[in-house]
Symmetry: D2
Subunit: 345 residues, 4 copies
Amino acid sequence: MPAGTRIGVLTGGGDCPGLNAVLRAVTRKGIAVHGHEIVGFRSGWQGPLEGNTMPLGLDAVEDILARGGTILGSSRTNPYKETDGVERIKRTLAEHEVDALIAIGGEDTLGVAERLTQDGVPVVGVPKTIDNDLDATDYTFGFDTAVHIATEAIDRLRTTAESHHRALVVEVMGRHAGWIALHAGLAGGANVILGPEKRFSVDQVCDWVQQRFERQYAPIIVVAEGAIPQDGEEVLQTGETDAFGHVRLGGVGTWLADELSRRTGKESRAVVLGHTQRGGTPTAYDRVLATRFGLHAVDAVSEGAFGKMVALRGTDIVRVPLAEATAKLKTVPLSRYAEAEVLFG
Amino acid sequence: MPAGTRIGVLTGGGDCPGLNAVLRAVTRKGIAVHGHEIVGFRSGWQGPLEGNTMPLGLDAVEDILARGGTILGSSRTNPYKETDGVERIKRTLAEHEVDALIAIGGEDTLGVAERLTQDGVPVVGVPKTIDNDLDATDYTFGFDTAVHIATEAIDRLRTTAESHHRALVVEVMGRHAGWIALHAGLAGGANVILGPEKRFSVDQVCDWVQQRFERQYAPIIVVAEGAIPQDGEEVLQTGETDAFGHVRLGGVGTWLADELSRRTGKESRAVVLGHTQRGGTPTAYDRVLATRFGLHAVDAVSEGAFGKMVALRGTDIVRVPLAEATAKLKTVPLSRYAEAEVLFG
Amino acid sequence: MPAGTRIGVLTGGGDCPGLNAVLRAVTRKGIAVHGHEIVGFRSGWQGPLEGNTMPLGLDAVEDILARGGTILGSSRTNPYKETDGVERIKRTLAEHEVDALIAIGGEDTLGVAERLTQDGVPVVGVPKTIDNDLDATDYTFGFDTAVHIATEAIDRLRTTAESHHRALVVEVMGRHAGWIALHAGLAGGANVILGPEKRFSVDQVCDWVQQRFERQYAPIIVVAEGAIPQDGEEVLQTGETDAFGHVRLGGVGTWLADELSRRTGKESRAVVLGHTQRGGTPTAYDRVLATRFGLHAVDAVSEGAFGKMVALRGTDIVRVPLAEATAKLKTVPLSRYAEAEVLFG
Amino acid sequence: MPAGTRIGVLTGGGDCPGLNAVLRAVTRKGIAVHGHEIVGFRSGWQGPLEGNTMPLGLDAVEDILARGGTILGSSRTNPYKETDGVERIKRTLAEHEVDALIAIGGEDTLGVAERLTQDGVPVVGVPKTIDNDLDATDYTFGFDTAVHIATEAIDRLRTTAESHHRALVVEVMGRHAGWIALHAGLAGGANVILGPEKRFSVDQVCDWVQQRFERQYAPIIVVAEGAIPQDGEEVLQTGETDAFGHVRLGGVGTWLADELSRRTGKESRAVVLGHTQRGGTPTAYDRVLATRFGLHAVDAVSEGAFGKMVALRGTDIVRVPLAEATAKLKTVPLSRYAEAEVLFG
C-alpha cells in the first residue's frame, strides 16, 4: 500500500486489556513510518456497516496505552448475519476512501475477516482473546492480565481461608479452555484446578480438599466457568438466564462450594471473579505483546499481506493465514493439567 | 501489671487485614518494653475456653506485619453461649498463668470482653471490623484495605462497561452500614451508591443510569449487600441459603442488575466482590493503624486499664470504655450520602 | 455567590496525587448544584497572571478522578514576586468575569491565597502537600499515596535484603517533616526510622542494624531526605547541585549506606525513591479526601467564605482561616518517633 | 535416580523473584512423585562447600510461592576459586548422602554447574536472571517482575512529568543487555529507550525530547544502567565506587538528566529504580514459569539428565546442555530497538 493510503481499524467481540495498545501502535507507526491515515471504526463490525468512524491521529492515541477497554467500543455484530452486510461494508470503505482494514478480535471477528478478504475486502487480523484459546499464536494479549487479576484474588483469598479453616472456590473465566484457571491456579498455588477440557470427579476434589485440611491448611479450588462435573449434573453457567428469568452469577463455582460443604462437612464458599478479569490497565506483558502486534499488523497491511493474522511464536511476531487461526480452538493439553496436578492437595 | 506478667491475646469474628499487625505490635512492645510474656489463644474465644495456645515470641511475629488474616485463627464462638464458659476461661488463664487478655474483634468479641471484665477477667479491647461500623472509633483497620480492593475493582470494571455501553452493578460488603459502598463509590467515581441506611428507589436508580447513558458514558452502580429496595421486595442476601438449600452468591446486586436490564433496556451485569474484600496484605494505612492499636493496647494492659478499648480520634489513639464501643452501630449519616449524591449520574 | 458566577480554580506547587479529584469535584458540584461556571487557570499562579485558561466542563473532568498529576499543570510562580502581580491577576479575573478563586496548593500557594484575599481577590484554599506538613488539617491528600508507594518499595526491598544478608537504606521524601518516613517505616516494618525533626546518631543506627543482623534478619532503614546526622556532617541533599554542577540524587540515604558499610562491615545499599512517590493514581483514601475537599471548597465559595481553607478534622471537613493554615509547619512530634522506636532493631 | 535419593538444591547469584517458587516445585514434586528427599544448601555454593544445609519438606515450602528472594539465601561464592572447592563439595554431598544437585542461578552459577558435572558431581541447572540475558531460554523468571515494577514506576512518573513540563530519565537494570529497558520502555510508552547494545547519541536523544515537548507532552527516557554515550564519555555506573570511596547511585541516568537540562534548557530529573526491581512478590507469569522450571528440573534429575538445564521454548519446557546455556550472552537484537524506535518522541 502506498503512502497516503487510508487504513481502517476496528475492535470486535468482548473487550480485553491491550486493545488500546494495539490501536496506538497501529496509528503511530501507520502515520510516522508508512505515511498512512488511520480511520477508527466504532463498535466492531457495526462501524464499517454503518459508516460510524472516528479519526485516529497522534493525539487521539496519546494517552491510551495503559487503559483497558477500547476507545473504539466493541460489539458482537456479524456482517454475514446482516442484510447486504458485505456490500454495505464495501460501500462504507469506498465512501471513506479506506483501502484496507485491520480487524482486532477473537474467533468470530477473525472468521469474518477471513471471509471478507475472500470476498474482496482486504483485511489483516490481530488476535485477541482473554481466554488464550486461539490456536495459531502462543499467547494472546489480555490473557496475562486476566491471570494476574485472578492470581491477586487467590492470594487474598488464601489468608481468609486459612484464618477460618474454610475451603474457597474461585470461579474464573474460560468456557471452552482452562488456560486462565491453569495459569492462575499455578501462580496462586491452588490446591485443585478444574478446566472444561476434562469432566471432573467431585469425589476426587473432596479427596484433595480433605488432604489439605488434614495437613492443617485451607484449600483453594480454582474452577473455569466451563468446567463440568463427571456425573453429568446440569449446572447453569454464569451469564445464563435461569428459570426465573434471572441472569445467573456463579455456575459451577457456587454449585461446587455447596457440594464441598455438604460432602466434607467443612465450610466452603465461592467467589466469582467475573468481569473484573477483563478490565483495567493491562500488565506490562500484555502492553508489549499488544504493541508489537499493532506494529506488525500495520507492516502487514503496507506489504499487502491480507488474509493474514499476526501471531506470537516464541519471542517472534510472525504472520499466519487467518484460516489457520480460526480453524481450531486451543484447549489446554491434558499433559499440562497432569503437570500441575502433582502440586494439588 | 508488673514485668513478667503473662498476657493473652486472641482474634475473634471475621478475619480482617491488619490483625497480624496488631499481634506483632503487642508482642514486640509487650516483650521489649514491658517485659511481659505473650500467649496467643487460637480461634477466638475457643482458645481460652479449650486451653488452645501458641507462644508469641519475636520470631513468631517477625514476618507477619504484611500478611492478611490472623496467625491465631478466628471463630465466632461466644463463651456466654457455652456451658460454664466464664469458669472455663478463668481456669485456662489460671493454668497458663495468664493475668490479662487483649481481645481483638468486632461488636460480638468486644461485647464478650466487656462482660468478662465485669465478671472478673481483665480484658483490654482492640476494635476490628471491615465494615467500619463501630461507633467509638473514627476508623477501624481493615476498612481502608476493603475500600482499596473495591476501588481497584471499580476502576477495572469502568473500562469494560464503557467498551460495551453496559451498566455494571458492584455489590460490596456492608450488611448494616454502607461505609465501604460510600468510600469505594466515591473513590471509584461510581454513578450511583446505595447503602443499607435508606431504602432506595429503583426508579431513581434508573434515572441516574439513563442520565449517564445519555451523556455517552457507562454507569457503575455500587451497592452494599445490605441495601434494600424501597418497594419492600424480598431480596435474598449473599451468604443466605435459598429455598433449594444453596448458599446465595449475589443478593441485591444481581437482583438490581436484572431490574436495570428490564426497565432501561440496557444490558446490565453484576459483580459480587465477596471474600476478596477481606483478605490479603493490608494497605499502609491499615498497617499503621493496626500497629498503633497494638502498641497502645499493651500499654493499656500494663497500666491496668481494663474494660477499655483503644480507639482512633483524629490522629490520636485514645481509650474508651468497652461499653461505649459496643453500644451503638455507626451507620453512614444521610448527610454523607447527600454529599456524594451530587456526583451521581 | 449567585448561580451563574464564574469561579476560577488553579493548582500550585509540586504535583500530588488527588489534584485532579479536587478539580473534578469542584467542577461537578459547581455546575450541578450551584449553577456556577468553572474556569481552570493553567500552571499555578501563572494562569491568572497571564490569562492562561481552560474551560472546565463535565466532559473535561469525566475521566480524571483516578489520574495523578493535574490537568491544569502547575508551577511555583509567586505573584508577589512579579511586577504588578496582584493588579495583573485582578485584570485577568475581570476580563474573564471570574468572581472568585479556588487555590489548591501547599504553604506557598496558600500564603499567596491569604494575601490576595486581603488585597481584595476572594480566594478559598484547598490544602495539598505530599509531606503532610500543614498544621491546620489532620491529613492532606497525596500523603497516603506517597506512603503506599514507599511501603510497597520497602516490602520489595525486604526480600532482597534478607536473601543477601544486606542492609538497605530507603530515602523517602520529607525535607522538613518526617511523616512519610514515619508512616511508611511503620507500615513496612522498618528497623530504623529517621526524620528531620531530630538529628540522628550514626552509632545508634549501627546498634539497631547490628541487633537486627544478630537476630539473623536483614535491616531496612527508612530515612527522610531532610534527616541530619548528629555530628553535624554536611550532607548534600537529593535535588541539590554539587560542586561539579551535577544534580544530586541521594543525599543522606547514600551517605548513610556508605557509613553503615564502613562501620559495621556489612554490605549496605541505598535506594532513593524520588519522584515515584508523587505520581500515578491516588489511593482510594486520597481520592475520597480530595473529592470531599473539592465538594466543600465550592460550597465555601458559594457561601462567600473567603480567606478560608477546607481541612480534615477527624472525619469531618471543616473550614479554617488561611492565616492559621500557613502559620506553622506540622512536624512529627517526638512522641510519635518514640512510639515507633520500640519496634526498631 | 531411584526413589529415596537425596537431592540437593541451591540458589546462587543475585536474588530474583521466583526462586522460592522453584524451590517449592522441586520439593513438592521431588517428594510426592519421585519419593526423593530434598536438602537445601544455604547461600549458593557456600552451602555445599561448608555443609550448611536446611531440610526442605512440605511445610518448609508451604508458604513461599508468592514470596520474593530465596529462603536458602544466596551468594556469589565460586567453588573453583576456593581451595579444594570441588573436593569439599564432594565431601559434603557424601556426608549428607546427597546424590545430585539442582543449581538455580545465572551465568556464573550455571558455569560452575557445568564444570562440576564434568568433574563428577551430577548437576541439573535452572536458569535465573532478572536481566533475561541467557541465550538458551526464551525467558527467565524474574524478568517479567522487573519489567512490571519498572513499568509501574514509569506510569507514575508520567503524570508528574506532564504536570511540571519536565523530562524524566528512568535508570533501570541491565549492565550488558537492555531487555528490561526495552520491555518496560515499550510497556510504559517511553519516548526514548537506551540499552547497552549500541552507544547512544545525546544529540539524538535531545531531538526526541524536543519533539515531545513540541507536541506539548513531557518525555520519559528509559535507560539501562549499562548504556554508554557515543562520544565515549566515562560515566560511573550505579554500584561502582567513586573517587571519594562512595558507592555510586545513578550512573548514566543522572548524567543524562544533567546533560538534557543543560542542552535543552528543560528541567530534567533522574530516578534510579535500583534494588526495588528485584524484590517482592513475583508476577503470575514468573510464578508459573518458575514453578514449571522446578517441576521439570526434578524430572531431569530423576531421569539422570545431568549437565542439562531446563529452558523455555515457546510454551514448552525443554532441556538444553549447560554448556550451551552459558556460551553466549543474549543481548537485545538491534532490530528490536528499531521496532520500538518508531514510537519514540
